[in-house]
Amino acid sequence: MIAIIGLLVGIAVGVLWHPVVPLWMEPYLPIAIVAALDAVFGGFRALMQKRFDDRIFAVSFLSNVVIASFLVFLGDQLGVGAQMSTGVVVVLAMRIFTNAAAIRRILFKA
């Protein structure tokens, strides 16, 4: 419940505040979102398995976002930015699918 309220408040703040993303930050935004989605799916799976933990969720969320963005930033500095974002997205997407499969097994027993 509190999570849904938090989500709605975040969306409302974004819509009302309408922040302008600095140009240097723009390439990292999609990566950060995919990383955040990974943490969300992981948290959802843990919730289904009744072993959800707020602390782990918050830490994994923030560290996922920061590390994924940092990896892409590092790749940019080394001149392999595109490859690095591909690699990060592939790994994160793989994790998301694994978590989604676990959720599906719990929800539909299939």
Partner: protein, 261 residues
């Protein structure tokens, strides 16, 4: 231990975040207060991130469409300007023509008037309508690129010259009026008249030809030779034709750098 490198890598990469929580059941979970706040803040951050991403993507696509729209608008605006100015040029030319006619009649200089008309016809700066000939000539049906069975610039030159011999006062090739400075020449595969490339079939129109002249048989003979030797397809029509006005090219004179040399 067993399994390929890829399998081990996959297992590690997709490891569960909550492994520790499984061994040690969450004691702080569900206690509300601090941990609930953290959860709300984290999820709120996710919402903010999503909204910002959506807005930034939309803003960049907006910028792209507005740039494109601005370019399209400029193109249409400029072509409108060009069309308007061409209209003005036509109007001015007609006005000049009318004023000149007025001036000549008002001074009652009928001789000068006819002289002006004659010179204008000779310089090919006015349209000419009258009885004449239309010659249509085309490549041989089985002509290949680079073969001699195609209409060459030489052929068009010969036809035009025989039309001049027949007393033509004006000649046009594919609606390109020939003036004193026109050239018919080949450029690669194409034939240029007034520096404009022509498309086949080639239509040569001439006003003022008299088939009674000696040129008539010369033209006939030329077309027959072209047909029998190279397979070029041609036809000649007698009748009224209209020629467009030619473009007057003012000669440009070279100047010596040293005045006294």
């Amino acid at each position: 231990m067993s399994g390929s490198v890829l399998e081990r890598f996959l297992a590690q990469a997709t490891e569960d975040d909550y492994l520790d929580a499984q061994t040690e059941p969450a004691d702080s979970g569900g206690s509300g207060g601090w941990s609930g706040l953290v959860l709300a803040l984290t999820v709120g951050f996710l919402g903010l991130l999503l909204v910002v991403a959506v807005f930034s993507v939309r803003a960049s696509s907006d910028a792209r469409t507005s740039t494109r729209d601005a370019l399209v608008e400029r193109v249409t605006q400029l072509s409108d300007t060009v069309a308007g100015q061409q209209e003005v040029v036509r109007d001015r030319a007609a006005a000049v023509e009318a004023l000149r006619g007025e001036l000549l009649t008002s001074t009652a200089a009928a001789a000068v008037q006819s002289l002006v008309e004659e010179y204008a016809t000779l310089a090919a700066t006015t349209e000419v309508v009258g009885p004449g000939l239309t010659v249509v000539i085309d490549d041989a049906p089985d002509a290949e690129a680079g073969s001699l069975n195609r209409v060459l610039d030489r052929d068009l030159q010969d036809i035009v010259n025989s039309l001049w011999q027949m007393g033509a006062v004006g000649v046009a090739v594919n609606n390109q009026r020939l003036t004193q400075t026109s050239a018919i020449r080949g450029a690669g595969e194409a034939i240029l008249v007034n520096y404009q490339p022509l498309a086949r079939p080639y239509v040569i129109t001439a006003v003022g030809t008299s088939s009674a002249g000696t040129g008539g048989s010369a033209l006939q003979g030329l077309l027959e030779v072209l047909g029998s030797d190279y397979g070029l397809v041609s036809s000649v029509d007698v009748g009224d034709v209209a020629l467009p006005a030619g473009e007057l090219r003012v000669p440009r004179y070279a100047q010596s750098l040293q005045e006294d040399a």
